[in-house]
């Protein structure tokens, strides 16, 4: 059976209330746009790391599933020329002989990647493909869209196997429509006539795709249990629901008040939350709008129940309030030190990072075949038994415990405090690294942590990704 084998989501921990954004810009709070909160990626996160976290959660650990392809979808890939899918595949320790691709250019790139992955499985070149979608879109500070968008990611493993859901029909429309756009040289999304964009763009095209997929599958609206439908804002969402003539199907929470509109990630993130409560036999429609639309009709299988019995973490998490709008600006790099007082340019060697790619991204230590000692980073001569070149690669666990830590206020960075941690990894190996997302007050010797991929620094115009530790309960 070809279909969805597994899924996961990742929403960064910080939440910024729209009331705080309104306060910063002198706007009244309350409806339609002043309620709720949005998710904000940390200063060391980008679309790549969000997608990596969702991917690792989807694949599981320590020796999780091994897809033979990885597609990344985003309108905010950190690089135009450096494939994010390859970096994520390396972090997930996937073999080199896989298919990778980045999908971009439209808010429906996530579903387009999903459809392409299903086609690749059906067509035979792959058994399974991981699709990871993430976005960290920026609107110009002060624009309403800034408050309405949110950062997030979702990952879906599709392939041949015990699928939780199968795709019964898909219907796509490609239509050049000027709704929101962003030129390569620009940082912020743009829009023009918002009423036109909502009614003639979002609503009209979404409805057309919806009808199209129902006709194609010869299914009536009454047979569908839920419509998963991302929306840029609540008025557009409710207008579409009403115009559809079947507003009851639109009860799947679009997460606009808890997370915000997560762009390319939205259709997959919402589908993931929908699958959490889906029952065997249900039909789920997924709408995905952008430069046209994709509509998918999914059928939930009996496998969903066995899947649900497995211990899983909360898809969205509770979040932690971001103290201020200024912190959001800082995290997204929208305010910088003009005189670079706290900016540093760490040593960087691309040859070195290439040479150590398996160790640093794939997270490998070495294990002495003579005495069994495990070390990270790799070495040639064992410091325990002094044997030369008796090491074999040792895949490190991403879970461990804090041996000790410090809270450094001197290290130059965007945060006033950098927590450093020494972590004993389950199954051997010790890592000395920074903490991520941690509340410094809660750090304790012996606490459980897990490793997450983050940006360590950017020098030579190149982001250096590596593993930070964060408390396991986050």
């Amino acid at each position: 059976m070809i279909g969805i084998l597994d899924y996961a989501a990742y929403v960064p921990i910080h939440r910024l209330t729209r009331a705080e954004i309104g306060r910063a810009w002198g706007r009244p709070s309350g409806p339609p746009h002043g309620d709720g909160q949005r998710a904000v990626a940390n200063f060391d996160e980008d679309s790549l790391t969000l997608a990596a976290e969702a991917s690792l959660r989807c694949l599981g650990q320590p020796e999780g599933q091994r897809p033979d392809g990885l597609y990344f979808a985003s309108t905010t890939a950190p690089d135009h020329e450096r494939q994010a899918a390859t970096v994520i595949a390396a972090a997930a320790d996937l073999p080199r002989e896989i298919r990778t691709a980045d999908f971009a250019g439209s808010l429906r790139a996530g579903t387009s990647a999903l459809l392409a992955a299903l086609d690749a499985v059906k067509g035979g070149p792959a058994w399974s493909i991981l699709v990871a979608a993430a976005d960290c879109r920026l609107a110009e500070p002060g624009q309403m869209a800034e408050a309405l968008m949110g950062d997030g990611a979702a990952a879906f493993l599709v392939g041949e196997g015990e699928a939780l859901a199968t795709v019964e029909a898909a219907y796509s429309i490609a239509e050049e429509f000027p709704g929101t756009w962003r030129q390569s040289r620009n940082l912020y999304i743009q829009s023009d006539d918002e009423k036109f964009a909502s009614t003639y763009g979002y609503q009209r095209i979404s409805l057309e795709a919806m009808r199209g997929v129902l006709d194609k599958a010869k299914v009536s609206p009454e047979q569908v249990s839920k419509v998963v439908c991302p929306a840029p804002d609540l008025p557009s969402y409710t207008a579409l629901a009403k115009a559809s003539g079947i507003p009851l199907l639109f009860l799947q929470d679009p997460l606009l008040f808890s997370v915000g509109f997560t762009g390319v990630a939205a259709p997959l993130l919402l589908l993931a939350t929908c699958l959490e409560k889906a029952e065997p036999g249900q039909l789920i429609m997924v709408l995905s709008y952008g430069c046209g639309a994709d509509a998918l009709l999914l059928s939930v299988t009996d496998n969903i129940e066995a899947h649900r019995l497995r211990a899983r973490r909360s898809l969205i998490g509770h979040g932690r309030p971001l103290p201020s709008y200024q912190t959001y600006l800082k995290y997204r790099g929208l305010v910088k030190s003009q005189h670079s007082v706290w900016e540093v340019e760490p040593f960087s060697s691309l040859t070195m990072m290439w040479r150590e790619r398996k160790q640093n991204l794939g997270l490998y230590g070495v294990k002495c075949t003579k005495c069994g000692a495990v070390f990270f980073p790799a070495r040639r001569v064992c410091p325990r038994c002094e044997t030369k070149d008796a090491f074999e690669p040792h895949k490190l666990s991403r879970r461990g415990r804090l041996v000790t830590f410090s809270k450094d206020r001197l290290y130059p960075g965007p945060e006033p405090l950098t927590a450093m941690a020494v972590v004993d990894l389950d199954g051997g190996g010790r890592l000395f690294t920074q903490m991520a997302d941690s509340d410094p007050e809660t750090l304790r010797v012996g606490m459980e942590v897990e490793l997450t991929l983050r940006i360590f620094h950017e020098s030579k115009g190149y982001a250096h990704y590596f593993w930070k530790a964060k408390p396991s309960h986050l």
Binding site: S406, D408, T433
Partner: protein
């Protein structure tokens, strides 16, 4: 073979330690070296070889990169000069190499200078910048020196149930000693209230747990013991020289590190004690200069040097054993805490302080009847440690 009694210190010198905005790197070298020449009663022309200890050539990366910097400063072009860098143990390691040159019989009289000009850049650019911008691009990235040593404080506190009030005692003692040292960067006592009111730097270490960024140079003239009396009536003899680097740079990645002791100190002390014939350091050492880059380092080092059992550093400081009036006064100079830490200079400053103590000319800081002293100089996060025993 042992180094014991094969090398004599006949002269020491040091600049005042502080922020010498009006003096350059060569000025510091000239002042320290000429004070040592005068103390030794030798002229520069009698020097046969020299060693220069500078760890980070801070001033734009050019002065202190090679022995040539010492030759240029002193116009000492007629002798071979090596530059030594070994983290914060640079000064003692330059001294150690010079000792081997004399003990081998190749040279009779040798100059050792340690110098570090840290304040030609801002304090942040000096060492914080070094750590942030150099080193592996991602491994261990994010630390500063206080951030690294705070790892020890956190773990030590956890295991032995102590808190910052114990570290405060180390800081207050060393500030009190420093108030008696006219060459110290800080010459003032601090109160417990000041200690706790000061800002945190890398929790659990606060401002008064950390040594400052300081300029300075220190020098020693050493020679064959049989020639020493022709220059100086009170030569001090090298009794033991230990140096160890048992974990290298990987301490924080080493699964065996316990973060409550430095193996490098234990190993270096074992070597030096064996050479010097010391069995009970608490009884046999009269005065010691320890590497208190941070207060936690001094506390841990009491234990690593065998001055007290593991986990009893708190009682050692609280009972006043290490204060000027105690059984084993530690850091009579005020230590790195008060003197500051111009990296390459520190080890030689310590050797100078112990030499002065053994000669009975340490003024208000004099430990009565001191005949045997110890120098402990630690580099990196315990990547390397020197332990030197000197005797009169």
């Amino acid at each position: 073979m042992t180094i014991r009694d094969k090398v004599a210190i006949i002269g020491v010198g040091a600049t005042p330690f502080g922020e010498h905005f009006e003096r350059g790197y060569p000025d510091l070298i000239v002042e320290a070296a000429y004070e040592a020449f005068e103390d030794a009663n030798v002229s520069p022309s009698q020097i046969q070889a020299a060693w220069l200890g500078t760890c980070f050539p801070d001033s734009g990366g050019y002065q202190g990169n090679a022995g040539a910097s010492l030759a240029d400063a002193l116009s000492l072009y007629h002798v071979p000069i090596s530059r030594v860098a070994n983290y914060c143990a640079t000064g003692t390691d330059a001294f150690r190499n010079a000792c081997f040159a004399v003990a081998s019989g190749i040279y009779d009289i040798v100059l050792v200078v340690g110098a570090e000009k840290m304040r030609d850049v801002t304090a942040r650019e000096s060492l914080v910048g070094q750590l942030a911008e150099t080193g592996h691009p991602v491994h261990g990235k994010g630390v500063t020196a206080p951030g690294m040593f705070a790892l020890f404080a956190t773990r030590y506190f956890e295991l032995f149930g102590i808190g910052r009030e114990t570290l405060a005692k180390v800081a207050m003692k060393n500030h009190r000693h420093g108030s008696l040292n006219p060459k110290a960067h800080f010459q003032k006592e601090i109160t417990l209230e000041q200690y706790f009111k000061a800002p945190m730097v890398a929790d659990p270490l606060g401002l008064y747990d950390c040594c400052p960024q300081t300029d300075g140079a220190a020098a020693a003239v050493i020679c064959r013991p049989d020639l020493a009396s022709t220059f100086n009536t009170e030569p001090i003899l090298v009794k033991g020289l230990g140096l160890a680097n048992p974990v290298g740079d990987e301490l924080a990645f080493d699964p065996e590190s316990d973060f409550i002791s430095f193996r490098a100190t234990k190993d270096a002390a074992r070597q030096a004690y064996e050479q010097a014939g010391i069995r009970d350091p608490l009884k046999e050492i009269d005065v010691a200069e320890l590497h208190d880059c941070f207060t936690i380092t001094e506390l841990v080092t009491y234990e690593d040097l065998g001055f007290c059992p593991t986990g009893e550093g708190r009682q050692f400081i609280e009972k006043g054993v290490s204060s000027l009036e105690g059984e084993l006064p530690v850091n009579t100079s005020g230590g790195l805490k008060s003197c500051g830490h111009p990296i390459g200079a520190t080890g030689l400053r310590m050797i100078g302080e112990i030499t002065d103590q053994l000669r009975g000319r340490a003024g208000k800081r004099q430990v009565k009847g001191a005949t045997r002293g110890l120098v402990h100089n630690l580099g990196g996060l315990g990547a390397v440690t020197s332990v030197i025993v000197l005797g009169s």
